[in-house]
Point group: C2
Chain length 292, copies 2
Amino acid sequence: MKVITKIAEMQKEADQLRIQEKKISLVPTMGYLHEGHLSLVREARARSDVVVMSIFVNPSQFGPSEDFKDYPRDFNHDVELARSAGCDIIFYPDAQEVYPEPYLTYVEVERLTKVLCGVSRPTHFRGVTTIVAKLFNIVKPQLAVFGQKDAQQAIVIKRMVKDLNYDIEIIVAPIIREKDGLAMSSRNTYLTKAQRIQATVLYQSLMVAKKMIDAGERKATIIKKRMRDLIEQQPDAIVDYIEIVDTTTLESQTALNGEVLIALAVKVGKPRLIDNIIVRVLERTINTESLK
Amino acid sequence: MKVITKIAEMQKEADQLRIQEKKISLVPTMGYLHEGHLSLVREARARSDVVVMSIFVNPSQFGPSEDFKDYPRDFNHDVELARSAGCDIIFYPDAQEVYPEPYLTYVEVERLTKVLCGVSRPTHFRGVTTIVAKLFNIVKPQLAVFGQKDAQQAIVIKRMVKDLNYDIEIIVAPIIREKDGLAMSSRNTYLTKAQRIQATVLYQSLMVAKKMIDAGERKATIIKKRMRDLIEQQPDAIVDYIEIVDTTTLESQTALNGEVLIALAVKVGKPRLIDNIIVRVLERTINTESLK
């Protein structure tokens, strides 16, 4: 496995691989790798010749009062984990080279970035789409893998790729969870022992929502209310949002049908955690079937 | 010479050329070609293996009250001219395929797009950077050629390329002028015979400015005033702006030194015409020399 830190070197490497007709895949990360990231590498590994993982804590996607400085970092450990999962190249650039002063250009996706996480993090997605566009131009992949954990990010990136005609296939890989259901996240390290237990309520509330839908409930307000009540039983949990939205447009749904994304963000002590599930709402519910 | 109209076909062609280690150049145009465009093709021809000219009247760079609908078009004639100048591929996409609904993603360069033409055309450069980013992702060139006629555009594109790490060399080719000095432009066809004569005042005013600087004048206000007075002698000429700015930052200059861009936009009847020159301001002027 190779570590490349210079942008020009990465581009030259990509050009050479392209001439050799190699399929390049990109797994963009902010490092502090866990099993979730490694599952993305394995996904990439299975679908391409050369797997490039970028490790870059991207300042432009953090708000001014967010945890950019505190974000956990452990490059040496990341190298070992990436190697073990089958990564070929780690691209590990310097922030100075990625954002030289004066930096003026941003990629913005409208509408989809104004809802859900976009409400409390108004510049977050602009930072994400900008760094991802840059990484696409540096790594020149035919394929890139993102996690379903960041559901809104995956939808925004897909829209950017389509709109800007990036010739890149986007794969979205399933959420990897701890045994008790908590979605893996580098930010889970911020949790105290007590908060770590409380944090399982995010996934529990999603499971409750799914059960309600499976049992015939179609009113989003009722489901969201039940989720909120459950989460707010935890002393350190502060709900940022609980939403049920269309899986493509991210528009809020009131009477559920088709495929819906149930997404939430909850502050549990220091970290703001996110989680989501996609639920297929059946047209005929168990209840109406039984009435026939 | 080949004409390609489909985005996916152009991308496949580019991939094949890249595998063959061909150097691809891109000349983005809105068609209705004149000698100015052809000079860009010749520049590209001399520096690459395969010259791709895009012809696309890009709706997103026109304001709501601008001339998108009226913009002159003559595809068959363009094909002949492009061929004669040594173009290999014309990429001629359909607006529906370039901007499918809903279209949500834009590339924005801050600051540089707020001055000069950006004042009266606030969404123009966003449209330009977005279509150019798209064309880069579709044509996958190693080199792209733009005209100095659109000086601000060239500076904005260079900044976008640098900021977003597009691995593309940007060449800016000199302005091509009619015999009487008028900068070639597809929009010159809008001019009546009388206005066509009046339109030469743009270049004349730039020459006056250069002469003043060469003679030792260093105050931008005095130079701009003289230019305005000259232009406003023409009955159909309405000045949009006359500016003397830094060639990289586009910041307005008051006491001139180093290299400056003198740029102007003037409505002459229907069309709004632009022109510019770059002047190297010598540190020691003729006047101070003579005082020694």
